[in-house]
């Protein structure tokens, strides 16, 4: 059993396998058991400290948090908020990714436009994008559109910068050889530049997924009537620390699921592996 596993480890490590994977394989089920035990110990310590060492008001306690979660699940409101946040995250990601890729390729292949827009893009990039939130609320209202816009603008710059770098990094020898074979400009972009920049684009997409979630949650915290950001903000304003912890756990879980999905997509992409080496 161990021999084939041992063989797969270096191959995985060479690609983009998560850093935790080899460790998990190394200790097998034992490590998983330890991790569960550690989690239980933390929960017990938390329960024990709460009300005795630290005021319950600040740190709540696991039982209350679980109760709050159960209550929100039972009345279905939690799913409404989760769905709102997931929807904004995904839409923001898609809009920002498409915009970033198009902008990155366009500026990457047209030096004039690139030089023209360069100072403005630098200024926009230096701006903390979160500061745009009030503007988006003004433009797109209190609904989901303003959250999608905030998530999209965070994603857009990350994806744009990566795509642009990828396009600029294209091996000049590959371009020369294609030009010698009578490639038109459109063919150069479609068949050499874009495929060559793909690993950079994917890297940009991967790192921008958590930012889409940040944008969505932040947007909800500023002005909203649904979503996990709204819920954490609302619970906080009610001095409901159990509610705050409950939402934080849900957000953490959501981001773990999102990262897992990204890994899954990445493993499916044979292209990524070939170009990425």
């Amino acid at each position: 059993m161990t021999a084939p596993e041992a063989r797969t480890v270096p191959a995985e490590a060479a690609s983009d396998a998560p850093a935790a994977a080899p460790a998990r394989r190394e200790y097998g089920g034992f490590m998983l058991a330890c991790q569960v035990v550690l989690g239980v110990i933390i929960l017990l310590l938390w329960q024990g400290a709460s009300g005795r060492l630290i005021d319950d008001f600040f740190i709540s306690n696991p039982v209350d948090v679980a109760e709050r979660l159960y209550q929100w699940i039972a009345d279905g409101s939690l799913f409404l908020h989760i769905w709102a946040t997931v929807y904004e995250t995904l839409m923001g990601f898609i809009v920002g990714a498409v915009g970033g890729v198009i902008l990155g390729i366009w500026l990457g292949v047209s030096p004039f436009t690139n030089r023209l827009l360069n100072p403005y893009l630098n200024a926009l990039n230096a701006l903390p994008k979160v500061a745009l939130a009030p503007l988006f609320v003004l433009w797109f209202g209190l609904g989901i559109a303003s959250k999608i816009a905030l998530a999209a603008v965070l994603v857009l710059f990350l994806v744009f910068l990566n795509t642009y770098a990828g396009v600029r990094e294209v091996d000049q020898d590959l371009i020369d050889s294609a030009r010698l074979m009578r490639a038109t400009r459109a063919q150069l972009v479609a068949k050499v530049i874009i495929p060559s920049a793909m690993s950079w684009v994917f890297a940009g997409l991967k790192i921008s997924v958590p930012y889409a979630l940040i944008g969505a949650v932040l947007g909800e915290m500023i002005a909203a009537n649904r979503g996990l950001g709204y819920l954490v903000q609302f619970s906080g304003s009610q001095f409901d620390s159990a509610g705050v912890f409950a939402v934080l756990m849900v957000i953490a879980l959501l981001s773990v699921v999102l990262n897992f999905l990204v890994e899954l997509v990445q493993h499916r992409m044979q292209l990524w592996r070939i170009v990425g080496r």
Binding site: D173, D176, A178, L180, M181, R277
Partner: protein, 256 residues
């Protein structure tokens, strides 16, 4: 057909001035096979790059079929020293790439690529990616791609350096056969004197950098040549020895 009119090329790296090529003057006739030999790093590749229109000469002009080369010269097939296969394409798709660019249908591309793959002995590796091949196999894939492009002039920069002796002979044979069939003009840069004499009509020997033509040797061996047996003829031996002697003198001068 190809005229180099007193061309020089100077590169500026930081504040340093590097003369790669100086005052090269030569004319290559149609269907001629030319070999250029010389010490490594002497500027031979720069010469090919200028004929391909990738570099412009600092002084002088490259004239191809009566026209000044001022942009990428798409009439040449260029096999560079570094293999520049597209890493995300299989061998088959890399070799068929020039056909794809020309808008040839997929079925015809596959058919013609298969033939070229067979020629260079890469059958069985059609679906591999370049990084899965050895250096010599990648070179052969580049050669097959150039053959499919079907240019009237082939520029080859040390094309067979990474191949073993038998394969080298097979590739020499293939190159001579196909060049004769297609009436190609060939310019080949090599380190290998044996290869130069076996293939070429004329051999140019370059000096150290900046490259100039030290001397030229006409190779009057009859065509078609049998690439294996030609080297055992007296005529070959005389040419080889004469070239070697002059090369040796050239090196001696350099050392002084």
């Amino acid at each position: 057909m190809i005229e180099l009119r007193r061309i020089s090329k100077t590169f500026h790296k930081h504040d340093e001035r590097v003369d790669a090529v100086r005052d090269i003057n030569l004319t290559i006739a149609q269907k001629e096979i030319i070999a250029v030999i010389g010490p490594s790093g002497c500027g031979k590749s720069t010469l090919l790059n200028m004929i391909a229109g990738l570099y412009m000469p600092t002084k002088g002009a490259v004239v191809y079929k009566g026209k000044h080369v001022t942009d990428v010269n798409t009439d040449v097939g260029y096999m560079t020293q570094k293999d520049n296969l597209l890493p995300w394409r299989t061998v088959q798709d890399n070799i068929a790439f020039p056909l794809e660019l020309a808008g040839v249908s997929r079925s015809e591309r596959i058919e013609r690529a298969a033939e070229a793959i067979k020629h260079v002995g890469l059958d069985g590796f059609e679906r591999r990616y370049p990084h899965e091949l050895s250096g010599g196999m990648r070179k052969r894939a580049c050669l097959a791609r150039m053959l499919l492009y079907g240019a009237e002039t082939a520029l080859l920069d040390e094309p067979f350096a990474a191949l073993d002796a038998q394969l080298k002979l097979a590739m020499h044979d293939l190159l001579l056969r196909l060049a004769a069939e297609a009436g190609q003009t060939v310019m080949l840069v090599t380190h290998d004197l044996m290869e130069a004499v076996t293939l070429a009509d004329r051999v140019f020997v370059c000096t150290r950098r900046p490259a100039t033509i030290a001397f030229e040797q006409r190779i009057g061996l009859a065509r078609p040549r049998d690439v294996l047996n030609v080297r055992f003829t007296n005529e070959f031996k005389h040419l080889y020895d004469a070239l070697w002697e002059r090369l040796r003198l050239e090196y001696q001068e350099d050392r002084v």
